[in-house]
Amino acid sequence: MNNLEFTLLVVLGSFMAGFLGALTGLGGGVVLVPLLTLVFHVDIRYAVGASLVSVIATSSGAAVAYLRDGFSNIRIGMFLEVATTLGALFGTFLAARVSTAAIGVVFGLVLLYSGYVSTRTPVESPEDNHPDPLATRLGMNGVYPSLAGPKAYFVHRVPAGFSLMFGAGALSGLLGIGSGAVKVLAMDQAMGIPFKVSTTTSNFMIGVTAAASAGVYLSRGYIDPALAMPVMLGVLAGSLTGARMLARTKTQQLRWVFAAVIAALGAEMLYGAFSGRI
């Protein structure tokens, strides 16, 4: 297989990953690294580097649509980015010190978890209308547009959310993924932030988190331009197409299929790591 054929196949695979990721809301980043390592036999370090770059592209590309709706909260996002960027640096520090097989194992577990989480119907945590002193001091409480007009919300348990975000950043730096699932978990389960606000704010933070590790990956020589090029362009085109079709598609069954794909890739990743292929 020469460079031209390889590039075209990777563009195609990345397009599908970005397309399904946007359509199901699960993000394409999580399937990219398994796709590159298991199908295209790319070394996991190159795969993580290319995936990080594409995560920045999709997060920034999608931000336009999200921001227009007025759901995201820039103060919550900025404050938690302190945790995710420090976590990302910690993740890149780990990535250089653990074996590729260990990265494969962690990746496999994260895939299985993501597959499991995405089949559940999320339950909104009960509304708590007592302001939390720390969150209030940090100016995090806000208002979002709902069908019944602007709706106020209060943010809670800032330290717990902050710690989880450090973990999300570390996974992002280690695995080259957006860790959107962990970010949303921290915001809506721990901090009690409404779904629409947490999802959009999380998307916003993903690009900044990935940029923190991308700089380190670049200087380590993990970002190969000829590999990152088809991955980034493919994922970006796929996710923009998916986002455009979102309004016209019923996604529930698709979510199940994609969740099954993610879980299967997780199992394959674990097998690959334990059998010494990664």
Partner: protein
């Protein structure tokens, strides 16, 4: 308890959204041009990503990348486009710090500056 400046926040978000879109568009175009040059010159060579060797040192830091791009090397141009992409969220954080200063929200000027410092350390500092 709620900030009076929500309208200002909204305006800031619109600017940020446009900034991000411009960054991604510019980066994608540069990467595409570099990719075409690379494929025209090396399309028939065999890729070798199975074994990890790491990139040559000039594609690891921005000065080398700029030199390679100016020499019209395909891989150098792609890498320059990727640098634009990595710089996009950094620019967004820098703009947020500036916008918080306009709102006289000094606490968040501090928070945004800290995030900016971490990003610059990652981008400009040597490998950990």
């Amino acid at each position: 308890m709620f900030r009076k400046s929500d309208w200002t926040d909204q305006k800031i978000e619109v600017v940020i959204a446009n900034l991000l879109r411009a960054g991604v568009t510019l980066s994608a175009m540069v990467v595409l041009v570099g990719g075409l040059i690379f494929l025209i010159r090396h399309g028939l060579s065999i890729p070798h990503y199975r074994a990890f060797a790491g990139e040559p040192s000039d594609l690891r830091e921005w000065k080398g990348v700029v030199r390679a791009a100016l020499a019209l090397r395909g891989r150098g141009i792609i890498q320059l486009g990727l640098l634009f992409l990595i710089a996009t969220p950094v620019a967004r954080v820098a703009f947020s710090a500036f916008a918080f200063a306009l709102e006289r929200d000094w606490l968040y000027v501090g928070v945004a500056s800290f995030v900016l410092a971490v990003l610059l350390y990652s981008l400009l500092g040597t490998a950990l």
